[in-house]
Symmetry: C2
Subunit: 212 residues, 2 copies
Amino acid sequence: MAARRGIGSMAQRTLMVLIDLDETLAAFEKHFVIKFREKYPNEPYIPVEKRNTFYIADQYDKLNFTDDSVRLELKKIYRSEHFFRDLPEIEGGCDAVKEMAEMEGVEVFICSSPLFQYKYSAPEKYEWVEKHLGPDWINRLILTRDKTMINGDILIDDKIHITGAMNNPSWKHVVFTAPNNQNMKVKGDKLRLNNWTDGTWRTMIEDFKKRL
Amino acid sequence: MAARRGIGSMAQRTLMVLIDLDETLAAFEKHFVIKFREKYPNEPYIPVEKRNTFYIADQYDKLNFTDDSVRLELKKIYRSEHFFRDLPEIEGGCDAVKEMAEMEGVEVFICSSPLFQYKYSAPEKYEWVEKHLGPDWINRLILTRDKTMINGDILIDDKIHITGAMNNPSWKHVVFTAPNNQNMKVKGDKLRLNNWTDGTWRTMIEDFKKRL
Ligand SMILES: [Mg+2]
Ligand SMILES: [Mg+2]
C-alpha cells in the first residue's frame, strides 16, 4: 500500500487536451465551397485557400453576386440538415486524436461550439464524433458557445480570438492553421499547429507534458 | 484611466454558477411517471416521492411487471422524440435562474449531460432552454457528459456523486434536493438546496459571493 501511494504521488498530473471540431478536425470550409457551388453554379465564390475571415458570410458579403439574395441565403447552406454530419475529415486529424488519447498521462476532449441555430448542428456534431472517432467519444464531446468555461491545459482551435465569460481560461491556446488564420500573426504566447500529418503534434504534446 | 483601472482592480471577481437541467430545472421524474402510466396503465409504477435511485431503470428493474418486456422497453420513454422538449419546469427554477443572472457579479451557465442516445436529448435540451429561459440562453448552455471539465465556483445539481476526468473540479457541489437524493446524507463540505421557492438560494449565492 505504502509503495503504491508512493508511486501515485510521484506520478505526473494528466495533461488535459481540448480539441476543436470545425476546421480543426472537420473540413467545414472545403465542404461549404462544394455545397455553395452546387447551389449557385453561376455565382462567384471564394476558393478555400483565399478565405481570410473567421465567419464565411463576412467575406462572401463583399462579392458581386448576380442575384443579391445569395448574400442572405448562403447561411442556409451550413444551417441545413446533414451539413455538419457530412463534413469530411481534416487530413490526419482523427488518427492523431485517437493516438493522442492513447498516450500515457494525456486525456483528450472534443470541444465544439454549435451554431446558434442549433437544430441540426448540435445533434450532428455528436453524429460526426460517433462516426469518425467512435461511440466512446460521445462521452468526450463538450458542446459550448463559450470555450473559456472549459477546463484544460491546451485548446487546439483554428479560431484566433477566443473570448468568453472567463478572462483567464485555464488552457493555453494552440492555433490550428486554417484558411481563416493562415496569414495572421499569432500573438502573445500562443502556439501554432500547422497540420496533423507531419508529426509535430506529438512533440508539442510531449513538451506540454514535461512542463506540467 | 488610472481611476478606472483602480476601480477595476478593487472589484470583486465574478461568481460563476453552473446549474443542472434535469431534476434541477426540468421535472424529468414527474414527466416520466406520467408517460410510463400512459404507456403501461396496467403495470406497477413508482410514484415520484418513492423514487430512490439516480437512474430510473435501476429502481423499476425490481418491480414485478405482468409483461417482462416493460423492463427493457421503459428506457424508450425518455429516449423518444419530444420527451426532453416537453419536460415541465421544477417550480420556481427558471425564475430563480433569470433573477440570479441579473445579480451583480454573478454569471450563470446551464450545464447538462445529454443521454448517450443523444439524438433527441441533445437538440431538445437547447429547445427547452430557448423556450423556458429565452434565446440568449442558447449561449449559456453547456452540454457535457463529464461536468468535472467545466469551470465554475458552484454546480447546483441533483446528482449526488459527480465524478469525471478531473479529480478536483473547480466548483463546489450544491446538491439540489430531488426524489433520488432526498434520503441521502450529503457528505463532505457539500451543501444542499431544497427548492427554488423559499428564497434560500439568494442567501446561498450572496454567501458564496462574500467568500470569493
Ligand atoms: Mg473551429
Ligand atoms: Mg440532474
